[in-house]
């Protein structure tokens, strides 16, 4: 599904990524761990086609980046800590806007469906500005799911969420995983990663230092490796 091969990213004296390699199979639920500044967001942005690697190869479902970015974007949904939503538009207007840019044919139908999925149908005519952070993040997930992507990328999706909203979002992600969506998310929340993700990738100073199935590592080991 995702193939990352020898990816470097640097500018001037700053070397953010220094040779990252991994493959992710279809249906995997993976956490990309690392401290702030380790390079995990940069890596995710490269996979998301928002940034270009200085060298190395990235491909998604055999479509290579950045050349075939358009095909990649068709099968990928992205949720960041920024919701990418307009506060002065209603939930429905936001989704319709992104739906049009995604060339959706059954727009109305899809919008209602994803709103239902994230449990925001009642609030569809309300301005996003009036939404709580948790609701905005759910709506952001709805936006990412509009075009039924096979792959979901998330960049620190839980930052700034209260307990209940995190729980809510976690359930949604688990549901998507159960349905076969491939999920890759960056986080520095080790407990979340251990409890829910099936595979862990740990990045330190731009290098992949650990790539393991969650079951094969204890919490203590992970904490030591992380610090």
């Amino acid at each position: 599904m995702i193939r990352v091969h020898n990816v470097h990213k640097s500018f001037a004296a700053l070397q953010v990524l220094r040779g990252i390699d991994f493959d992710i199979q279809e249906g995997e639920y993976t956490a990309l761990l690392g401290q702030n500044g380790a390079g995990k967001t940069t890596l995710l942005r490269i996979i998301a086609s928002l940034s270009r690697p200085t060298s190395g190869e990235v491909s998604i479902n055999e479509f290579s980046l950045p050349k075939q970015a358009e095909q990649v974007r068709r099968q990928m949904g992205v949720v960041s800590h920024d919701p990418f939503l307009y506060g002065d538009l209603t939930a429905e207007e936001n989704l319709k806007f992104y739906g049009k840019l995604n060339n959706l044919e059954n727009l109305q139908e899809r919008v209602l469906l994803v709103l239902e999925q994230v449990d925001l149908s009642v609030r569809r005519y309300d301005l996003v500005r009036t939404f709580s952070r948790g609701m905005q993040q759910r709506l952001a997930l709805a936006r990412a799911l509009l075009h039924e992507p096979d792959l979901l990328l998330l960049d620190e999706p839980f930052s700034g969420l209260d307990f209940k909203s995190s729980q809510n979002l976690t359930d949604l992600l688990n549901g998507l995983h159960a349905k076969g969506t491939t999920i890759l998310m960056t986080t520095h929340d080790l407990d979340f990663a251990i409890t829910h993700c099936k595979r862990l990738l740990l990045i330190k100073q731009g290098k992949l230092v650990k790539d393991t199935v969650t079951q094969n590592i204890s919490r203590d080991e992970l904490v030591t490796a992380f610090g």
């Binding site: 500018f11 001037a12 004296a13 700053l14 070397q15 270009r52 200085t54």
Partner: protein
């Protein structure tokens, strides 16, 4: 490698020293005194070559900008930055020496004629260019902004000149026609040409030295990062 590069530096520095000395000798002693303007006309041997050097510098900013956008290779970005800084230096000399000459000859420090106004606008454009470099993070994006602005700035130069010329020629009562260069005495012409040559060598030397210091800065930052 290092040794060879140092030799080139030394040769360039010696060459610009000799060339500037010869140009100084010719400007002050060899060239005849102009009949109507007197000695003040000699500033022309610094004014015109400075203008030439600044155009050369801004041309390099534009070309290096295009090369950077096309290739993403940082060396072009550094080249553009170094060239812009030196270009601003020379265009500042142009703007300072102009009024020194104008006051005794035109009896005014400044006149809004086409060439003066264009030089002034040019100065503003490249000051803005340096401000972009200062106010954006030192990353790929900042470099791209600068490249884009450098390209537009240079494309703009002839357009600005043309529009202002139109404005002044269509406008009655332009105070002074800024014509010069016609009917120059042969010694004067020789001095001017030597001077232009000297400033070109000086420009290349400065560009090379500034580039080197930019690379040194980067190396220092690299070392700092490791501690």
């Amino acid at each position: 490698m290092k040794q060879k590069s140092l030799t080139v530096d030394l040769v360039l520095i010696t060459l610009s020293y000799v060339a500037v000395m010869v140009a100084l000798y010719m400007a002050f002693l060899y060239a005849p005194t102009e009949r109507t303007m007197g000695d003040v006309q000699r500033i022309f041997y610094f004014h015109v070559p400075s203008a030439w050097a600044s155009f050369l510098a801004f041309f390099i900013v534009c070309i290096a900008g295009i090369a950077f956008l096309k290739s993403g290779n940082e060396k072009w970005d550094k080249m553009a930055l170094a060239s812009a800084e030196i270009g601003v230096l020379f265009i500042t000399i142009v703007l300072l020496t102009g009024p020194m000459w104008a006051k005794p000859v035109w009896n005014t420090y400044w006149s809004w004629d086409a060439r003066l106004t264009t030089s002034f606008v040019l100065w503003l454009i490249y000051i803005a260019y340096l401000m972009i470099r200062q106010f954006t993070a030192d990353n790929e994006r900042g470099a791209r902004f600068a490249a884009v602005f450098g390209i537009i700035g240079f494309v703009d130069v002839p357009i600005v000149y043309m529009s202002i010329r139109w404005w002044r020629t269509l406008h009655p009562g332009a105070v002074i026609a800024g014509g010069s260069g016609s009917g120059l005495a042969p010694q004067m012409l020789a001095t001017l040409l030597v001077s232009v040559g000297a400033f070109t060598i000086l420009f290349i030397t400065l560009l090379r030295l500034r580039l080197k210091s930019i690379y040194l800065e980067q190396d220092v930052n690299l070392v700092k990062q490791q501690f």
